[in-house]
């Protein structure tokens, strides 16, 4: 597992963002390395000297947020990684049964640091925005991205949102400069309101979500629809496929996703988790129904050997590098390079159940 948060020491007075450069540069936003051991590196920048509990080689090019009083540094944008994401808030107004990042009441506003970091991002980066629920802070969020795109039109953003906060007042803005550079990743768990509401833990959520889709449609926003496959909605997936085909044909992609054993899902694993090796039929049916009507659909977070051969083309090697792992037996597998593998925190006894291809 790649560490995202490092122990750090710095005498700076306030948290700061900097890019870790291999050499001294003229750019005041960059820091350069003075010395490095296998466990620690010493850096020098505008905010003085600071140490990071990690070797230089692994960090060069990263954009970090150093927090002196907390004595830690967050690797906000790791060099060369397609999986960078910024957690803008831990607040949320839903309470999903399998939430991987259970919400907190308070909000720490870090938009300023995120904006600085994004300006330092590699050309053409797509930066994830997650939470909590980012659109609880819709105004500052959109304003930040608008400012960024004015200077960095090469950047793209993928924002995970529960879709409870879009209304007519947003549409003109979303249809403007933001439209092409943001993909909204929005979850929908069933075509049936009570089931969806039950899964997201909020009465009326389905209805509000459908209203949001109408506003997003008017704005021409790009949407990735996301559905985590759970014991609760497995048999409703084919119906959801038809619902998407008939009501949301303008989406860019429908992502069917395997469950992550973290957050609430950890406690409820046995009740929520579906073993697709034994029960793929409802998923296959949903994939077929979606494809039949031309909905672009993909399968995420499922190892290839857990998918029947004829459906493997739908699978995406999706699990982010920093939280991906494989079983020892995977070493000999011909499909390993194209395989999602498992989440780092997937139960050990399940990870062992691989069948090298």
């Amino acid at each position: 597992m790649i560490p995202l948060v490092l122990n750090a020491e710095s005498d700076a007075e306030a948290p700061f963002v900097t890019r870790l450069a291999s050499r001294r540069s003229a750019d005041p936003r960059e820091s350069f390395c003075l010395s490095s051991t296998p466990t620690q590196s010493l850096w020098c920048g505008m905010e003085g000297l600071f140490t990071l509990a990690h070797p230089m080689d692994a960090l060069t090019g990263d954009v970090v947020l150093v927090d002196p009083s907390a004595r830690r540094a967050e690797r906000l944008l790791r060099a060369g990684s397609p999986h960078n994401s910024l957690l803008v808030t831990e607040q949320c107004d839903q309470l999903c049964v399998m939430c991987s990042q259970p919400p907190k009441k308070t909000h720490r506003d870090r938009f300023e640091h995120f904006e600085t970091a994004c300006r330092l991002a590699e050309q053409g980066s797509v930066i994830g925005i997650t939470g909590g629920e980012p659109t609880l802070h819709m105004g500052p969020l959109l304003a930040m991205i608008e400012r960024l795109l004015a200077d960095r039109p090469d950047l793209g953003f993928h924002i995970l949102s529960n879709g409870q906060h879009f209304d007519a007042a947003n549409t003109a803005r979303l249809a403007g400069r933001l439209r092409t550079n943001i993909v909204w990743g929005i979850p929908l768990y069933a075509a049936d309101a009570p089931l969806h509401d039950h899964i997201v833990g909020k009465p009326g959520a389905f209805e509000r979500l459908i209203a949001s889709f109408a506003h997003l449609l008017v704005a021409g926003a790009r949407i990735e629809l996301r559905t985590v496959m759970l014991e609760d909605n497995l048999d409703a997936l084919a119906g959801l496929a038809r619902f998407v085909a008939h009501n949301l044909p303008h989406i860019e992609q429908w992502s069917l996703m395997g469950l992550e054993n973290i957050g609430f899902a950890r406690r409820r694993w046995d009740a929520l988790h579906v073993d697709l090796r034994a029960r793929f039929a409802p998923v296959g049916n949903a994939l077929d129904q979606a494809s039949l009507y031309g909905v672009p659909v993909r399968l995420f977070n499922i190892p290839l050997c857990h998918i029947p051969p004829e459906f493997r083309d739908y699978a995406v090697a999706s699990i982010s590098d920093w939280k991906q792992r494989f079983a020892p037996a995977c070493e000999g597998c011909a499909a390993r390079a194209n395989c999602a593998g498992f989440f780092e925190w997937h139960p050990d006894h399940l990870v062992e159940k691989v069948v090298p291809l």
Partner: protein, 392 residues
């Protein structure tokens, strides 16, 4: 609505080394002069191609026999801006293979399209070549299939609807070459060809029954031999249009059918046509359907007039028809057959053909025969082996 121009059919030369009985293009003799693009026409095409805005384009070279002018093909390929994802299709009779043509075929972005009329005897009869020449074609086709595999090559049978070959034999002649897609396309004789085949104006019930029998044969064969999936491409297109609104890239079947926008044909003399069929009608001297030329452009009153009529919206027969959302409007076909576009729709060959095929499609979609469902699922590109298509 269609986007920018992203499909071009180019005719760099009208000359050909064959004289097929059905040839619709009023071909020119192999050594005729003045039937290739002039340098001004080439410059116009290069400018057009160089100005494409992408992100993708398909460019099909037809003739005549386009491989007689590999230099023109290369010039067009070189003119496509680097950032555009381009695919080239060279339509050739494969009568001869020379090094220059092979060098073009070797490119990863080039596909080869040819005509295969079925068994050797049929092929040589229709092409008016002797058995030796027909063998030459077959040998060349096999050479290319061996070199590239079937993925790079498509073959279209050209079928005389009045005496179609035995379906089983036709399927065999494709299958044995590793070609899985067969596009059953009855010849629509025009000009030169109509003089020889006067009875061909309307495809009668006999042809429709043939098409249906052919589709059923494919279903039976696919069920027996699961190792490969044979399809009739036009029927697959119909199926996709039933389930996938917006599957609108086939200019013979879409509604509305925009004219001269995303798709054009540039003839050997620089004239621009909305479709290849329109070009043939014009060449045959039946009616001038050109919409402009490569130099002056084609945003003309002629284009607008054709486009205004190219829809089935508002047509009394179509508005009352259950298949309207999947069907299309092909005014060029009406002009070709009847010289007019105002016949009651249900009296047209286009309508009869589509009504029949959509009837067949829906009958099959609702069939509970597993063999039928198996083939339909493959033709629609579904992964699951089984399961009924009709919504529960």
């Amino acid at each position: 609505m269609p986007g920018a121009l992203d499909y071009l059919i180019l005719v760099p030369t009208l000359r050909c080394n064959l004289a097929c009985s059905y040839c619709q293009v009023s071909r020119a003799a192999i050594d005729a002069r003045g039937h290739d693009w002039s340098s001004a026409t080439l410059a116009g095409v290069e400018a057009l191609v160089g100005g494409l805005t992408g992100p993708e384009v398909k460019i099909e070279f037809q003739g005549g026999e386009p491989t007689l002018r590999p230099d023109l093909i290369r010039a067009v390929i070189d003119a496509v801006p680097a950032e555009i994802q381009a695919q080239f299709i060279i339509c050739t009779n494969l009568q001869t293979l020379n090094d220059e043509a092979m060098a073009l075929f070797d490119r990863d972005d080039v596909q080869i399209s040819t005509s295969l009329d079925g068994p050797l005897a049929v092929h040589s009869r229709q092409r008016q070549v002797d058995a030796g020449e027909a063998k030459g074609f077959h040998a060349n086709l096999r050479t290319l299939l061996a070199r590239y595999g079937p993925g790079k090559i498509s073959a279209l049978p050209t079928i005389n609807p009045l005496s179609p070959p035995d379906p089983e034999q036709l399927i065999d002649s494709f299958a044995e070459l590793g070609l899985d897609s067969i596009y059953l396309r009855p010849i629509n004789y025009q000009g030169f060809a109509r003089k020889r085949h006067p009875a061909s104006r309307v495809n009668g019930d006999q042809w429709l029954a043939y098409h249906a029998a052919f589709v059923r044969r494919l279903i039976a064969r696919n069920w027996i031999d699961r190792s490969r999936v044979l399809e009739e491409s036009y029927f697959s297109l119909l199926l996709r249009r039933i389930f996938r609104p917006g599957e609108d890239r086939h200019v013979d079947l879409r509604n509305p059918n925009p004219i001269g926008r995303d798709y054009i044909v540039v003839d050997h003399d620089g004239c621009v046509y909305p479709t290849d069929e329109a070009r043939m009608l014009t060449r045959a001297g039946i009616i001038d359907l050109s919409i402009g030329d490569i130099h002056a452009g084609w945003d003309t009153p002629e284009r607008a007039a054709l486009e205004a009529a190219a829809t089935n919206d508002g047509d009394p027969a179509c508005e009352a028809c259950a298949y309207q959302p999947y069907c299309g409007r092909d005014i060029i076909d009406d002009i070709a057959r009847y010289g007019r576009i105002d016949l009651p729709r249900e009296e047209t060959d286009f309508c009869r053909r589509h009504l029949y095929l959509f009837d067949l499609a829906f009958e099959l979609i609702h069939s509970d025969d597993p063999a039928v469902q198996y083939s339909l699922r493959r033709w629609l590109g579904l992964a699951g082996e089984t399961g009924a298509l009709a919504a529960p």
